[in-house]
């Protein structure tokens, strides 16, 4: 059978796998991109969340044949240098404990912030209740999502530069 071409984090990869293989295992075992985690295999825990054309999707329940031609973004592609507001906020609020679920949490949060730049508690509940964190980082997750929203918000216009020569 012909190889399947995947666009992951802006790069094309040709993979020779059973077309029914879940995207999760192709990312992890074939492409060795292990930031996307296996937690349940039945779209219950959210640890495997990636973006498909910007939409948060469970990679464990998505056959690889169905994602050809779509833009796949994984945690490795969220930013080049941990500079996404959600990543910065996760560090600022000291969210992760074991950390295994957090790639998925971050991917869902990144999508949420695009849809709802100022998410309410109800928005956060709706987006994150599809995820499980066994370490119980929920209070910090909630806080960090709000922190990330504040970080991502456009800043008020900078004051006009002073007249030439005055600035030092």
């Amino acid at each position: 059978m012909p190889p399947i071409t995947l666009n992951v984090n802006g790069k094309a990869h040709a993979v020779d796998v059973d077309p029914q293989t879940p995207l999760l295992w192709v990312l992890r075992d074939t492409l060795n991109m292990t930031g996307t985690k296996y937690g349940c295999g039945i779209a219950q825990c959210g640890a495997c969340t990636v973006h498909l054309d910007g939409e948060a999707t469970r990679a464990c329940a998505t056959a690889v044949e169905d994602v050809q031609g779509r833009k796949i973004t994984t945690i490795e592609g969220l930013s080049a240098d941990r500079s996404h507001p959600a990543q910065l906020a996760w560090i600022a609020e000291q969210v992760p404990q074991c950390g295994y679920c957090q790639s998925g949490m971050l991917m869902t949060t990144a999508e949420l912030l695009k849809r709802k730049p100022k998410p309410t508690d109800a928005d956060i509940d709706e987006a994150i209740s599809g995820h499980i964190c066994r370490c119980g980082t929920y209070p910090r997750l909630r806080k960090a999502i709000k922190t990330a929203a504040a970080m991502a918000a456009p800043r008020p216009a900078a004051p006009k530069p002073a007249a030439k020569g005055a600035a030092r």
Binding site: G39, Q44, L78, R82, P96, L106, I128, G136
Partner: protein, 734 residues
């Protein structure tokens, strides 16, 4: 705590490039029986931690501790850096090689801070004194005119200064001071201990770069899943691998025998090029099982057995003050209640896995393990190699909660690697992880209490039966069945003159093990809810009753929980602080309630006040306020995170899930039927620490035990309904 014997050593490590010496001090965290044994046997390296100060002044702390999100790779270097007078960022933490001469490299029991606080300070102070002495000799001045600060030794009013990097070579030639004689810093001088240092492991957990056991990849590695008999103790009778072998990517199908010593079930292993191939291959197997002796066990038969055991009077007496039975007979008011809790699974987000490569001359393993030396031992036995030929790398752990102490998954990987010659990663699916665990024991409790006319408890009788952890793990002639079952109940801290507890172990085929906070998870719920029942029966406010029964400062120490001494005044202080911060006594709207509970475990005191809303048979926990006395707090933000985590872990067991048995097997399989607490169900949590200069203790487990009781006592306050079995069910609220 007794001062560790001087187990320091001096060593030289030659660096190829510079030939410069490093200052190395090896030491041990726990002053256990092993230390003596190590001395008697003259073991070469009886250490589980080393401080290396390199010729360039950089410091490495080599630790046999596993990072599972509790922050051990941040908190422990903070302690060392403080005494060594360096910035904590200069300390690089490395995983210690697993040493077969050391029985337990383990990480658990909320013990890392508790057991390492003094040895780490002593090691840091010893190294500091050696560096100071080297500088003093160089300047030909008295060492007591020199001091260490910011990674250098300084002297005199016109301040001479030598950085550690220029002193390492000379210092490394000095004798290591006796640990018991080094001068530790006055805590008033602490600059690092007690501050919120960001955790070192977090950046790698926000970009996917952190390597968990699941993420290990070694050249030539194959993936394996194992089909195990769904009934505990069952075996393979026969199997047909024809279809499995036809699955694309499947390389091997082989039977692996059960290993009684490693408590593995055995089964049929399917080995493939990818995890998915192995899983597909397993799905295509046809297996006939011999279900063995436990095929008729169920949660119902176990409950019947508990009832029968508790109806007898030959339980082991684990506490006996006064004469509880006589006091109950003559009581003015007698209260009786039965409590029960089910099995629980650890269910860390990273399912069990291990990567093992056995070669002829040695073996290598990559283990997400709380007890890597247990894995090393299992591999050595299977490979027929001496332990020191088995190199173990400890990876990040995607949660542990006790489950990752055991080495069953390591043994399976070793068996398959030995048979195939390839490096093998054994992966548990979530279903495997749920159905082939080692569970928190199920238990049944019958409690009786007597009150005098003022509502003061005069007698307390607690009869308990459970599936005993020690009976499962220890040979019958050595087992002490009560030893991991009665803690937190036998050493109840309340001043009740007649207090008796009896324990009877049940027989079961269900494997059991330590689960976050072990028996305290059960006994905190049972004892603190029953105390609430006594308060209600005596018409005393539940806070008031606790304060009364803890009023007299006493030390409670009861075998077999004899490692710990409960100080009632410290527990009382937590109760007072939690009540104050929670606004105890302030009115709440109808349908809402507030409950309190306190518990002492792992040498840490915790009181919690929960606020709940009960509506249409559903309990929503709105807020939990915790007051914690864990001695001096090393990293407050990290300690808060551990208490928050313990509370939410406990709420899953209180509100959501149970492992139940039918036909000898676990009925649940994945998160759709073994449900976890989610963000919309998680409360606001506030954590307050009782200011303390006492020796630091741990926080990983102690946050859990009071939370189910605080919640169910709040449910009673809101509804008048007593919840005596977990998890709460809608019918119990009707």
């Amino acid at each position: 705590m007794s001062a560790p014997k001087s187990r320091a050593r001096r060593d030289f490590l030659k660096s190829g490039a510079t030939g410069a010496a490093a200052l190395v001090i090896g030491f041990r965290f726990s002053d256990d029986a092993f230390a003596q044994e190590a001395q008697e046997k003259k073991l070469i390296n009886p250490f589980d931690a080393w401080v290396h100060i390199e010729a360039d002044g950089r410091v490495r702390l080599v630790l046999a501790k596993s990072e599972m999100g509790q922050g051990v790779t941040t908190t422990l270097p903070m302690i060392l850096a403080e005494e060594l007078a360096i910035d904590w960022k200069q300390v690089r933490v490395e995983q210690a090689p697993t040493n077969p001469n050391i029985y337990d490299h383990g990480t658990g029991g909320s013990a890392s801070v508790r057991t390492s606080w003094l040895p780490l300070r002593q090691a840091g102070a010893a190294a500091r004194e050696m560096l100071v002495q080297a500088a003093a000799s160089h300047w030909a001045v008295n060492a007591n005119t020199c001091r260490a600060e910011a990674g250098a030794v300084v002297h005199g009013p016109r301040v001479k200064r030598l950085p550690y990097s220029q002193l390492v070579a000379a210092a490394s030639k000095l004798p290591v001071p006796d640990f018991s004689k080094v001068t530790l810093l006055n805590p008033k001088e602490f600059k690092i201990v007690g501050t919120d240092i960001p955790r070192a492991d977090i950046p790698g957990k926000v970009d996917g770069s952190g390597v968990f056991g699941m993420d290990v990849r070694v050249p030539g590695m194959l993936y394996a899943v194992v089909a195990r008999c769904p009934v505990f103790g069952g075996k393979v009778k026969r199997f047909d691998a024809t279809k499995a072998k036809a699955v694309r990517g499947v390389r091997h199908v082989l039977e692996i025998p059960a290993l009684p010593e490693a408590h593995t079930a055995g089964g049929v292993a399917v080995v493939g090029d990818t995890t998915y191939a192995a899983m597909q291959g397993r799905d295509a197997l046809t297996i006939e099982w011999d279900e063995g002796a436990h095929a008729t066990e169920s949660s119902a038969t176990l409950r019947t057995q508990f009832e029968e055991l508790l109806a007898r009077t030959d339980g082991t007496v684990v506490r006996n003050d006064g004469d509880a039975r006589a006091a109950l007979q003559g009581a003015g008011q007698k209260i009786e209640a039965t409590y029960e809790v089910p099995f629980q699974n650890h269910s860390p987000m990273e399912p069990m896995n291990a990567t093992v490569h056995i070669r002829k001359d040695g073996a290598e393993a990559w283990l997400p393990s709380q007890g890597p030396q247990w894995g090393q031992d299992a591999i050595a036995k299977i490979a027929g190699l001496p332990g020191d030929k088995v190199v173990v790398h400890t990876t990040l752990l995607g949660g542990g909660f006790g489950r990752r102490y055991h080495a069953d998954f390591v043994a399976e990987a070793a068996q398959i690697s030995k048979a195939t010659g390839a490096p093998i990663k054994v992966v548990f699916t979530r279903e495997d992880d749920t159905q082939h665990g080692f569970y928190r024991p199920a238990s049944l409790h019958k409690l009786s209490g007597a009150l005098d006319a003022k509502g003061q408890p005069q007698a307390w009788l607690h009869l308990m039966s459970s599936v005993s952890i020690d009976q499962y793990w220890t040979p019958p002639d050595k087992a002490k069945p009560a030893s991991s079952e009665v803690g937190g109940a036998a050493n109840l801290g309340y001043a009740i003159p007649n207090l008796r507890m009896e324990y009877a172990p049940a027989k079961s085929g269900v494997p059991v093990m330590w689960w976050r906070s072990v028996e305290h998870s059960t006994n905190g719920f049972v004892t603190e809810c029953f105390l609430d029942e006594l308060a209600a029966a005596g018409k005393v406010d539940p806070l008031e009753l606790r304060l009364r029964l803890l009023a007299e400062p006493r030390k409670v120490r009861v075998p077999p929980d004899n490692e710990s001494t409960l100080d009632t005044s410290r527990l009382r202080a937590c109760v007072e602080l939690a009540a104050l911060k929670a606004g105890w006594g302030k009115p709440l709207p109808k349908g809402r309630g507030r409950g309190i509970a306190c518990h002492f475990s792992f040498d840490t005191y915790v009181a919690e006040v929960a606020e709940v809303t009960v509506s249409k048979g559903v309990v929503k926990v709105d807020r939990v306020v915790a007051a914690v006395d864990c001695g001096r707090v090393i990293n407050p933000n990290g300690a808060r995170a551990q208490i928050e985590g313990g509370i939410n872990f406990g709420l899953t067991a209180a509100l959501k899930s149970a492992i139940t048995i039918d036909k000898g097997r676990v009925e649940q399989s994945n998160f759709d039927n073994y449900e976890m607490l989610r963000i919309d169900e998680a409360p606001v949590i506030e954590v307050h620490f009782v200011p303390s200069e006492a020796t630091p203790t741990g926080t990983g487990e102690p946050g859990l035990p009071p939370c189910a009781a605080a919640v169910m006592n709040a449910v009673f306050a809101a509804t008048g309904k007593r919840v005596r079995r977990l998890p709460v069910r809608t019918e119990d609220l009707a």
